[in-house]
């Protein structure tokens, strides 16, 4: 583990009675970067963040945050902020009181910034939290997450119930504040295209397993879409694995895994083909579906195997 490593997870597993929430997860978060923790609902994102912040307990494996075990570790925990998607607040608190509480616990808390954010999100500071709408509740969590300026900050689906304007306000503030006060940020989300431009590194988790863990640039560059007449495209992409295919009358747009060199790009232009970027969302969806597909085909194989066995028996 080098100095810049903030989080190190090795072989982490979490089992509930009959569900495996996390399965042999290993990863590393480094200092002053923005990570995207992406995946479908129920993939294990919240479970993972809960364990990293010692709110939840692992069944197996090891977790090191700032080089130490975070459980009941005041020195580690005081550098972390994790407002969960379903964060509970004392029933009789107002947002203003929740912020005053946060000021007690986060050493880098910026009250002016918190007030400015609350104003931008049009958050009623003196209304009781239990009377807030879902979006306003999310805004309380966002304000605490941003204004706490914790060295390691987790945002767990922070935009639930927020309209598009408020979501963009959040993204803008996040980017701006990150530039002025660099820290490690982990943003869990399933609105992948919306957050894609913020993220430097992407971890995709599916059914408790990590299926993608790479730099955002690497992932974006790992595929390209080729559009044009069907037969020309088919000839051009010969040999490349196909991710998606879209047909429009007699033109097609095919996304392939792989990089094109400058010569190939020139050739495509000469053939009248249009090259484009594949969106992060499409790549993540594809990865999730193929992870599932691999599992299904394994199941199918097992099924066929069993079928063959039973035939054996009847014979």
């Amino acid at each position: 583990m080098n100095e810049q490593t903030v989080v190190q997870v090795q072989g982490l597993g979490r089992k509930y009675k009959d569900v495996i929430a996390l399965d042999d997860v290993s990863l590393e978060f480094r200092q002053d970067r923005i990570y995207g923790l992406l995946g479908r609902n129920g993939a294990g994102k919240t479970t993972l963040m809960s364990i990293l912040t010692a709110q939840g307990f692992p069944s197996s494996g090891s977790v090191r945050v700032f080089g130490e075990d975070p459980y009941e570790n005041e020195g580690v925990l005081r550098r972390i902020c994790f407002i969960r998607e379903s964060q509970k607040y004392p029933d009789d608190f107002t947002p203003a009181q929740a912020f005053r509480a946060a000021a007690l616990f986060f050493a880098h808390w910026d009250q002016t910034f918190a007030e400015r954010l609350a104003e931008d999100f049009q958050l009623p500071l003196k209304r009781r939290i239990k009377k807030l709408s879902r979006g306003q509740l999310s805004a309380v969590g966002i304000v605490i997450g941003l204004a706490s300026r914790a060295e390691l900050t987790f945002f767990d689906e922070p935009y639930l119930g927020l309209d598009a304007v408020a979501r963009h306000l959040f993204y803008d503030h996040l980017v701006k504040d990150f530039a002025e006060h660099p820290r490690t940020i982990v943003l869990s989300s399933h609105l992948i295209d919306e957050v894609a431009n913020l993220l430097e590194h992407i971890v995709v988790i599916d059914k408790g397993r990590i299926i993608m863990d790479d730099e955002a640039e690497e992932i974006r560059g790992s595929a390209v879409s080729v559009a044009g007449p069907a037969d020309v495209v088919a000839a051009f992409i010969e040999g490349y694995p196909v991710l998606f295919e879209e047909r429009l009358l007699n033109t097609v747009s095919v996304s392939i895994a792989g990089r094109l060199n400058p010569a190939q790009r020139r050739e495509a232009a000469e053939l009248g083909l249009v090259l484009g970027q594949v969106s992060l969302q499409q790549l993540v969806v594809h990865a999730s579906l193929s992870a599932q597909g691999a599992e299904n085909s394994l199941n199918d194989a097992a099924h066929i195997q069993r079928g063959a066995d039973s035939k054996e028996v009847t014979r």
């Binding site: 972390i80 509970k88 509480a101 007690l104």
Partner: protein
């Protein structure tokens, strides 16, 4: 800043929760009792359990502290240990405040012969018969006891859900039935009743304090493994 004290201060951010509402309940009960005392001609008159009206609220606060401020505190990156200690600092401070009010009220009632009309609200017979420091200790322990019962029960629920709460309740009921069975079977009823008749106030408070310590320790161990 010390995280334990920070938790304790957080519990007091909303002044109504721990201070305002108990003050209103106590003040209301006091005013009501005095009004009734002026109607009743006989002397002396006692408020009965009236001064303890806020205790039921404290029981509920014990539960609420856990269900709401525990998840919130973990969100504020507080250790479970700091949360527990800080909450108990607040409980103790409020219990001490209540105790001071009871002790002073009792002495004032003694000095003024029940507000000049033989009406005693604070001075509960038996419990507050002794000197002022005894009233102080006894009311402090009783208040802390009510907080702890609520808090402890809530930790059981938080950690093991409805099943756990049921198991513990049934277990406690079985213990009581078992004790009654043993007492009856052994013919100890005379001794048991004698014990309660002769026990001093301080003795009773001591038993409550032991229960507070046992439930507090249980709550602490449970919280150490609880998730928000």
């Amino acid at each position: 800043m010390n995280r334990v004290l920070a938790v304790s201060r957080m519990q007091l951010i909303n002044k109504w929760t721990f201070l305002g509402i108990p003050a209103i309940i106590l003040g209301g009960a006091f005013a009501l009792c005095l009004a009734i005392f002026t109607i009743i001609p006989t002397e002396p008159k006692y408020g009965g359990g009236a001064p303890f009206a806020p205790l039921w609220y404290f029981f509920a606060l014990g539960i609420q502290s856990l269900t709401l401020t525990f998840p919130f505190s973990l969100g504020m990156s507080v250790t479970r240990r700091a949360y527990f200690l800080g909450t108990y600092v607040t409980f103790s401070a409020v219990a001490l405040g209540m105790a001071v009010i009871y002790a002073i009220g009792t002495q004032v009632e003694l000095a003024t012969q029940g507000w000049g009309m033989g009406g005693y609200f604070f001075r509960v017979p038996f419990l507050f018969d002794g000197p002022w420091w005894q009233s102080l200790a006894v009311s402090f322990i009783i208040t802390l006891f009510f907080f702890t019962v609520g808090f402890w029960a809530a930790t059981i629920y938080k950690r093991w859900g409805v099943t756990g709460t049921l198991v513990v309740s049934i277990g406690l009921a079985l213990l009581v039935v078992g004790a009654i069975f043993l007492i009856t079977w052994g013919g100890f009823w005379g001794d048991v009743l004698g014990f309660f008749v002769h026990i001093s106030v301080l003795g009773l408070a001591g038993i409550l304090l032991l229960l507070v310590a046992a439930m507090g320790a249980g709550a602490f161990l449970t919280i150490r493994r609880a998730v928000p």
